[in-house]
Every structure is written in C-alpha cells, then in structure tokens.
C-alpha cells in the first residue's frame, strides 16, 4: 500500500525584518542582500510553539483523532532544550496518546525531511497508523555575519498514513556524505560556515545526486513534474540548482518562499512543499529535495489526489501567514532574538 500525506500545515511568525535594515546596521550596501526580508520569531515563540500550530493545522486537514498518531518527530537545529524532546511537548499539546515515539531529529536544514522519511517508514512498516513529521527552526545568525540576512523562523508539519491521502508518496531516497560546509559545536550560540565551500561541493552536489537518484529510480524526467521544491537558503541557490537539473521557473516559483520569509532551515523545503500543496491540483506531481549541511539531501516524489480540494481550506494557507506581517527594526529584532546580553 502506498504511503503519503493525509494532512499538512504551516506556520510563519508575523514579524519581518528587511535585509536592507540588517545591511544598514553593519555598514553594508542595502543592494547586496541575498533576500528581501525574513520572518522573525516573536518574543513568546520558539520551535515548540511553531511546531504546535503547524501540527494543529495539519490535524485539521487530516481529520483524524490525534490519539491515533503513533509517532511525532520534530526536526530542528534550534531546540528549546538541548536535552528534552520537543516532539513530546508537541504530542502533549495536540492530544496524542501515550503510545508514541517522539525523539527529535538533527541534520541541519534537512532535519525536517529526515523526520518525514522516518514517519513514512513507520507507517509503511505498520509500526504506526499515523506519523507526524515537523520541520521547524528559529535559526540564529551571528550578528554581522552573512547568514544573519537569511536565518529565519518558520515550520511545516506533515501527517502521513496509508489511506485518505491528499498526496501519494511515489518514492523517496536519501543521499549523504560527510561534508563540513556548516556546523555548530556543542555549547556554541552561533554556527560556523565555510563560505563558498557551501556551494558546489555541498548544496549542489547533494541535491543533484539525490534528485538524479530518485528520478532514475522512478524513471521520471523533469518534465514529468508539475512542481519542484528545493531547499532555499537564499534566492540564487534554488534557482540555479533547478536550472542545472532541468526545471523551469514556473515549476519552482510557487514553492520558492525564501526571498520573502528567509531560510527557515529545517522548515525550509517543507514550507515550500506546503505552499505548493496550497495551489496544486489533483494529479500534479511534486519533487521535493532538501539539503542539510554536514551533509545530505532527501528527495521525495509526491502525486496529489482529488482529496486536496476538500482538505486544503480546513486550515490557514501559507499565504495567510505570509500576508500577516509587521516590520521591526534591528533593535527590536536583537531584543526578540536574545542577542542583547541581559546579564
């Protein structure tokens, strides 16, 4: 029996900071910024709160009893606790039963799709009737560093199962290699990145290999897909990798959110997928390829069913969260993100 998505949900915080505001702060040209603006978690938000709202939205679309969920996995690199599962808090908040597995996942920006891979395996093996996978982050950029322009907050949740699917998983794979392009040591507040090394040998290599491996396995070509969603650390990379693989702008545009919400790290490609599901029609085929530094890529092929039409409007669309915005200045941003040492 094929597995697939029975419910999906997104959440993006309402605060935005313009990249030009950050550039101005650090004495850089406001034209040389990698995105327009990014989403910033509010002072009472964290990965758990974002995950809960995205999950409640997914539940509304899935239409299932939360007590039937057998696994809740949160993939993130900004856990509220270094040791205490975020997934268990989400499970408690949505009313899951006690018979659940709920460890958190980390693999940089592909922690969310890792959670999705596991949940699909759980339901395919019969271990769980339903699985809830969430990719979410409230990523932090070192003040003054390039990544500060793009490190953003947001997340998306997917409930998977074997029936009443709004999108069937036609196939999936994972491609990984030990590549030190971006990392954060234990106890450190901010990550380190290896500059231009994060390009060809990291982001591009893994996405291209995973995408090609999946397409070969399923015997698909780029033209067979209606949409393609790639991990989106900035505006340039996903557009370039799409071009290299043979996808056009029309295929990637609906799922390309980073220019206006930034890089939500483990939430990035999953938010792109949610945005595509918000507009997709029955029989549309979607390619999703994530990338997580360290490194690896997960690739999925989803085929949308007729159920999308009746399930879609049961929860807010990604655009509803994108349209809800309030701009903040750098001082407010620094206070919200805890960059001011309160002693």
């Amino acid at each position: 029996m094929p597995s697939g998505i029975i419910g999906y949900g997104a959440y993006i915080p309402m605060y935005r900071i313009r990249a030009s505001e950050i550039a101005k702060m650090w004495g850089k040209s406001p034209e040389a910024v990698p995105i327009k603006e990014k989403a910033v978690a509010g002072p009472d938000e964290d990965v758990a709160t974002i995950a809960v709202e995205a999950s409640l939205n997914a539940l509304a679309r899935a239409g299932i009893d939360p007590s039937e969920i057998g696994a809740v996995h949160v993939g993130t690199e900004s856990k509220p606790y270094a040791v205490k599962s975020t997934g268990i808090t989400v499970a408690e908040a949505i009313g899951a039963s006690r018979m659940i597995t709920c460890a958190d996942y980390e693999l940089a920006c592909k922690a969310g799709t890792e959670a999705l891979q596991t949940c699909l395996s759980h339901v395919e093996s019969g271990f769980a009737k339903y699985g809830l996978a969430i990719g979410v982050d409230t990523a932090q950029g070192r003040p003054g560093d390039e990544l500060e322009y793009t490190a953003a907050s947001g997340g998306a949740a997917f409930i998977v199962g074997l029936d009443n699917l709004l999108a069937v998983c036609e196939g999936r794979c994972s491609w990984s290699s030990d590549t030190p392009d971006f990392w954060r040591r234990e106890g450190q507040k901010y990550p380190v990145h290896a500059g231009r090394f994060t390009g060809a040998p990291a982001y591009f290599k893994h996405i291209i290999n995973a995408a090609k491996a999946l397409m070969e396995k399923l015997n698909f070509k780029p033209e067979d897909f209606t949409y393609a969603v790639f991990h989106q650390p900035n505006t340039k990379f996903p557009i370039k990798v799409a071009q290299i693989l043979g996808f056009n702008m029309k295929q990637i545009e609906p799922g390309l959110l980073s220019p206006i919400i930034g890089n939500c790290y483990a939430g990035s490609s999953l938010l792109g997928l949610a945005a595509v599901l918000d507009v997709a029609k029955p029989d549309d085929r979607i390619l999703v390829v994530s990338y997580g530094s360290g490194s690896g890529s997960d690739a999925f092929s989803f085929k949308v069913t007729e159920l999308i039409e009746e399930k879609r409007d049961k929860a807010p669309l990604v655009k509803h969260y994108i349209e809800r915005k309030v701009y903040i200045d750098y001082a407010t941003y620094a206070k919200f993100r805890g960059k001011i040492n309160l002693g």
Partner: protein, 133 residues
C-alpha cells in the same frame, strides 16, 4: 515560582485549554474545578472553545520578578464562545490595538523560562483572529 511537579500537573490544562463543564447547569470553567458555583459536583473535563472576545484587558509595565524583561505584557480576561471566562495573555498585537470585544483565538505560546537552566513554560495565549481571505 513553579518547580517541575507543580508545572507538570497542570500540563493538559495549560497546553490544550482543557477546563470543566458542569453537567447539571452547563457552565464551563477554565481552569477545571471540582465543584460548580451552582453546587453540583458533577463536572467533567472538557476542552474550552478556542475562539472568543476580550472581556477586559490591561498592559503591565512593572511585572513580577519572574516576568521581568517581557514588559509591556498584555493581559486580558477572555470570554470564549462556550461561555468560559478566564485570565490569559494577548499576543501578536500591540497595546494600542486592544479593545473590549475584540475577537481573539487561542494559540500555544511560551509564557516564560526559568532563567537559563530551569524549565521552559508553555501555555495558551490569545491573538487577534488570523485573516483568511
């Protein structure tokens, strides 16, 4: 204030907005209670409606020690669609937007952390209803 057991005991009510319904007079309460104001002890745990209106509000500029750093804090008494009335915080809005009667909806948010080492404490707050046009 609360150490682990005192916080943990309230989790289902704090996280899922579960209150009580009096099976005799129909009144709903949050948080739950064992005896209704009508005198009945026939109360069952039940989720509270997640949409409501602001019944009264205030903005706190001088919080208690545990909430320092969060000011201005918007606190309200909200009346939900099923008639429950309780104290909560308002979020995703500014003090000048507050009005008695404004429609709000429940969201899961962080109330505070116990410094750098203690618990992260979550609960339900209310925000202006998200537009879905």
């Amino acid at each position: 204030m609360s150490w682990a057991p005192q916080y943990w005991r309230e989790l289902p009510y704090r996280y899922r907005l579960i209150g009580s319904k009096c099976m005799d007079c129909g009144r709903k309460y949050y948080p739950p209670r064992k005896v209704c104001k009508c005198g009945s002890e026939n109360l069952k745990l039940e989720p509270i409606a997640r949409k409501g209106k602001v019944y009264s509000y205030t903005v706190i500029y001088y919080p208690s020690k545990e909430f320092q750093g969060q000011e201005p804090i918007m606190v309200a008494i909200v009346e939900t669609e099923d008639g429950a009335r309780f104290l909560t915080q308002l979020t995703d809005c500014t003090p000048d937007q507050l009005k008695i009667g404004m429609p709000v909806e429940a969201v899961f948010r962080r109330y505070r952390t116990q410094g750098d080492k203690g618990l992260v404490m979550y609960g339900i707050k209310f925000r202006p209803v998200l537009g879905r046009d």
